[in-house]
Every structure is written in structure tokens, then in C-alpha cells.
Symmetry: C2
Subunit: 366 residues, 2 copies
């Protein structure tokens, strides 16, 4: 889908099928700040795997310089051995979820049921901050916890026997239980990865496209420089990764390529979603409704402290969650009242309303 | 897509959106003989990876029996280590192509450009028969070559340090250069895998849906028992794998699962493709047109032996190829005459006409 598949004038009343137009008015117009290229894929797993492949090719290209592949690389790659198939790694965080194909699954660290019985790569993982709530009562402890995790990431980058080409991280660990970290944590991660020559991949498969109260959740962080790649799927109804650096595009053709290259129809659907989000100002709507929802839940949490612990997602739109000791019971009771909410992690209840969720829909929590 | 997503009566003139109906009149009605279940996926790579995952889960379940996961398995799986992430393998053939995501890519052995710089699994590969043409002049040599490959597969199954859960094989190695083996070779492979307790996955991503002159290319073999899994994509406009054994379905929920589970719209499209294939009797058409095409090319090959070597694909519908020492030049010249043909492997020219290709379209070769 990178090249124009059907590049011709519009037919009668049909809209143009010029892929350049579809991308420039759709997927590329929605690109996160600083990123101006997109690689289309089929699923969130596929988006992450192609991002990982781009990271590995970039890393080897840096080492190789202008040299061509060596005969030894070519021969060993066909045997799945180094140096052709190098022993590089992607660093992910405990509690993270990045997909279920073999490469993405190797970086998924949320629950054993996803991983059991599946051969995997010996890739490293780092602790993700375990923050204590309410945040304003634990600012010293939480800052120390985040620094501990950053220090551990640095130690792994310096000592991993399988050199780390990229770190992949979710803005909010979603499947793992709606685990948050501060903007400061992610800014430190960006600085550290730049210092170490390691790419930063932000997995916005769950958080992207408005649910956090910004179009991309990482826009909340005010990073010193953009992430190297941002992956997306789910709400986008299309999948892939954004990037900015031209050298993430391999020099040789067909290295990042497959039959489907995503689905052009989904790129068109995404453009319509984007237009609807803008027409109804849905990102602003999510931010406003999210604020009210969070404040209402904070009041409930004070009133029923045994039911609603660790309320989180302040200033993150409707991406709100809390812990409950009788989680599954609450989810069933809510459903009986017509409210569809879900669980994540071990004991979290998470809200994931659609972008059109408005204050009048929230009367149930009064 | 395994469960009925939208299970309700038809609305007015719209067709039913009952997924059970869509599958039973579409994807499942087209199932290869002996296979009666389908797992839907997003792409050919995804189809193969989910088939591999099913094979690994099946293998461990056989070893584990009725026992639950052990604490050690659960803990080690989260670290990507054995026993939770066992050191099992999938055996593939040199020259095979099975996809480009990390797991499927580990079994792809066609060209280094797909694999270079990407970390891989230390999985074994076996030689695929290198047949000599014309077949009737080399029957002794070819039988010996196929037996050599079967013997090597047996040796690997007996000695691999990473136990082989499944063998994946294409009926005709497509991307690798249209490499054929005899029905006898595949029958021996089926017998051997059953003897060794190893699953046989037939990758029909390229060969499936009619192009070989049968709906599934492996129907040409007359196997003693059906393959354990058959994967599909491309022409199907939907992707996934068929299977017959119920124990390839994991006992626990959510082990084979993801957000998209393929695309219900594509299952509907597949049903329409199937109906059109039947309405126009296209598989029979492919067989007949393929015979005539092959015979015409065989005559040309005798007339121009320096241009058309190793003609192959007899009795395989329009899945026809030959080798050419000036392959790229021939492809360009054909295009200039309005004939779109392609290359595969190192020097093969392959034909992949659509199923509606008929004798009158072939006048160019007179």
C-alpha cells in the first residue's frame, strides 16, 4: 500500500482511489507530531512485528554501513543463525501486551495463558512502575519507583547478551491491568534510548485514536523528541506503524513487504473515522467526559473505599480503571444494569466507552 | 469468528449475518476432505502462525495429559524460557515460503532477502526434492532423490535437539521457484509423520482454491489420511487453517484468540467466490485449460529447448512454470505483448492466471 495501487482519475460519482490521496488525507494526516511516514499492516500484532523488523534492519544497517550483505550473512540467514539472523532483542516491560504472533508474543508479558507452550525468544524484560494511589499521597515513593525502573532499563541495555535494538512500551499497559506511569517516566525513557542508540516504539494499539483525551496518548508526555515508531490498530480499523526517520525504510526493496500490505479499504474507513472524529470534536468530548467520569468515580471511591481502589486515568480521557477485590461480580452486576465494562490484569475494572460516550450516558453512576 | 457474532434473523432484503450460516455455507463447505473445523486468521502468515501455535499446544497437551500447567511452567513462560516456553520446533523445507512474521519467517527458506537481519528460531530444515525433467526420462533418479529427502526428514525427526511438533510443506513450492514433488513423496511424508507422532501442516496459501485443477492441491495426492491442518489465504480473500482433530482445539479458552479473528466480511466474500467457482465450474475449467496450456508449452519446449527448460506442472491445472536462462528479459517482453507473467525462485517463470482464464485467452502462445 506504500505505492499507489490504483492511481487514476475518479470514476463518475465514485471517490478517488488514489492511494496517495487516501493516505495523505487519512492515515498520514493523523500521524503523531514528528512522524511523517506510515507502514500499513493487517493487525496490531503485525504492526508491532513489522516495527520490530524495521528496528532490526536499522540496527544492522548502522553497523554494516554502506557495505553489502556478506556471503556469511546470506548463508547463515538461511539456516536461521547469526550473523545473518542476528541475536538481537526487543526489550519490553513486565505487564505489557503487544500481540500474539511469535515475535510480538515474545514481548508480551501480561499473562501466562497467552504464552504457555509457545517457543519464544530469549529477549529481556524490565519492570514497569507499580505506582501507589492516590498519586498525590505517594509522590516521593512513585518517583523512586519510576527511577528504579529506568535504572533497570539502563542496566539491561548495558548488559544484555542479546543487544537491544528497540524498546516497546504502551502509554498505558492495557491488557495488563491499566497500569500507568508518569509523563516524566516516559520522558526519561526517551532520553535514555537516545543516549544508548536504541529505538523507542510506542504501542498505541489500545490507547491510540482519541480514547486518552488526545488523539495519541503519548502526546500527553511532551517528549524531547518524538518516538521512533508508533504502532496502531483497533479503533483505527486499520493497522500499521508511523515513523519519521527515513533510515527506518530499508535500502533494498521487498524487505518489508507482504501480499496484503494491510487493506486499502481499511485505509479509506480510517479516513472516514478521522473525519467523523473531527466533525464531532470527539477527542475534546472524550477529555471532558473523562474528567467528569473520573471525578464522579473519585467521589464514589471515597464513599466506598472498599469497592474502588487505586482509581487511575486522571487526565487520560475515558481510559479509566480501578481495582476491585470482587471484580468479576461487579462486571456481571453492571452488565445486568445494561453497562458493559470489562476486566484487565488480575483485578482491574477498566472503562472503554466509545468516543461518542457523553455525560448523559453516565447517569448510571449517580 | 468461531462463535456467532451476529446471530439474528435476516433483516428485510439483507442476507443473514449468522456466522454459523456464513461458515457452514462458505469456508466450511469448502473444507478439504476429512477436515471439518476452521480457525479464521488475517493473513497467510497469521494462518501459519496460528497453525504452529495449535501444533505446539497439542504437543504439550499430549505430554502433559490431564495435568494442569505447573507453577514452573507458568513462571518460566513469562520469562520466555522452558519449560513454559518449550524448545520445540517446526520443520520446514529448503526453498519453502510460509510468511514473514517472526514465527512463519523462521520456516521460510526461499530467499535470504526475506530473512536477513531478523532474529530467528533455531529450527531445522530438510531438503526438498530437486526433480529432473522431463519426469518420464528421470523416474529412477527422481525416486531416489525423493527417498533421500524422506530419509533426511526421518533423521531430523529422530535427532533434532528441538523436538519437531509439526512439518509444514507447500504442495508446490511457489515463491521458491515452482518446485514440485510427486504424490508418492507426500504420501510417504504423511505416513512418516503419523509414525513419528508429528503433525503435517499443508500450506495451501498459494496453491489453494482451484489453481492446481483441484480445489485443494493436496487432493492430487490420495493420502492415506488427511493432513492435520491446511492453511489458506490469497485467492480465498480470507485466511486461516482447517483442521479435523478436535484435540487441536485447546481445552482452555482464549489460548488461540485475538482482536480481529480474521474478518467476517472476508468470510462472506469467500462464500461468494465459492459460489462463483461452482456456478462457472471453474476448477474443471482450470484443469482443462491447464492441460492444453501445458501441452502447448511442451511443444514449444521441444521447438525451443534453449528457451524453455524444466517445464513443470503437468496435471496441476494452470500452476505451470519453466526455467529460463534469460528469465527477466522474457517477463518484460511478455508484458510488452500484454501478457502478465512473473518470476519465482532463481530462474523460474511461473504462470498464475485467474481461474476464469480460458483457451481463447491463450492464443498468444500459438
Amino acid at each position: 500500500m506504500i505505492r499507489s495501487l490504483v492511481n487514476r482519475p475518479a470514476l463518475g460519482n465514485f471517490p478517488s482511489l488514489d492511494m496517495h490521496d487516501i493516505l495523505s488525507t487519512g492515515l498520514l494526516r493523523a500521524a503523531p507530531p514528528g512522524l511523517n511516514q506510515v507502514f500499513t499492516a493487517s493487525t496490531g500484532s503485525d504492526a508491532n512485528e513489522t516495527a520490530y523488523k524495521a528496528a532490526f534492519m536499522w540496527r544492522r544497517a548502522n553497523e554494516r554501513g554502506d557495505a553489502d550483505f556478506t556471503p556469511e550473512e546470506i548463508e547463515s540467514a538461511m539456516r536461521n543463525q547469526a550473523p545473518g539472523a542476528p541475536e538481537y532483542s526487543i526489550l519490553s516491560f513486565n505487564g505489557g501486551f503487544h500481540g500474539r504472533t511469535f515475535g510480538s508474543l515474545a514481548t508480551t508479558r501480561s499473562k501466562p495463558i497467552h504464552k504457555l507452550d509457545i517457543p519464544s525468544f530469549d529477549w529481556p524484560s524490565a519492570p514497569f512502575p507499580k505506582l501507589q494511589y492516590p498519586l498525590d499521597q505517594f509522590s516521593v515513593e512513585n518517583a523512586a519507583e519510576e527511577q528504579r525502573c529506568i535504572d533497570e532499563v539502563e542496566r539491561i541495555l548495558d548488559t544484555s547478551s542479546k543487544p537491544v535494538a528497540a524498546i516497546v512500551v504502551e502509554p498505558i499497559q492495557s491488557e495488563g491491568g491499566d497500569n500507568h506511569a508518569s509523563a516524566s517516566f516516559f520522558c526519561k525513557l526517551r532520553v535514555l534510548t537516545e543516549q544508548k542508540g536504541v529505538l523507542l516504539i510506542v504501542d498505541e494499539v489500545q490507547t491510540g485514536v482519541g480514547a486518552s483525551g488526545k488523539f495519541w496518548a503519548h502526546e500527553h508526555w511532551d517528549l524531547s523528541s518524538p518516538p521512533d515508531m508508533v504502532t496502531f490498530s483497533k479503533k483505527a480499523q486499520a493497522a500499521g506503524f508511523y515513523y519519521g526517520k527515513s533510515d527506518l525504510r530499508p535500502k533494498q526493496a521487498y524487505r518489508q513487504f507482504n501480499t496484503w500490505m494491510g487493506d486499502p479499504a481499511r485505509a479509506i474507513i480510517f479516513r472516514s473515522i478521522l473525519e467523523e472524529i473531527e466533525r464531532l470534536d470527539l477527542v475534546k468530548n472524550v477529555a471532558q467526559v473523562g474528567d467528569r467520569l473520573f471525578n464522579s468515580l473519585a467521589q464514589l471511591s471515597q464513599k466506598y473505599p472498599h469497592e474502588i481502589h487505586n482509581l487511575r486515568g486522571k487526565d487520560r480521557g475515558t481510559f479509566i480503571a480501578w481495582d476491585s477485590t470482587r471484580r468479576d461480580e461487579v462486571i456481571v452486576k453492571a452488565l445486568q444494569k445494561g453497562v458493559l465494562i470489562g476486566g484487565s490484569g488480575a483485578r482491574a475494572i477498566r472503562l472503554r466507552p466509545m468516543l461518542v460516550f457523553q455525560n448523559q450516558h453516565g447517569t448510571f453512576i449517580r
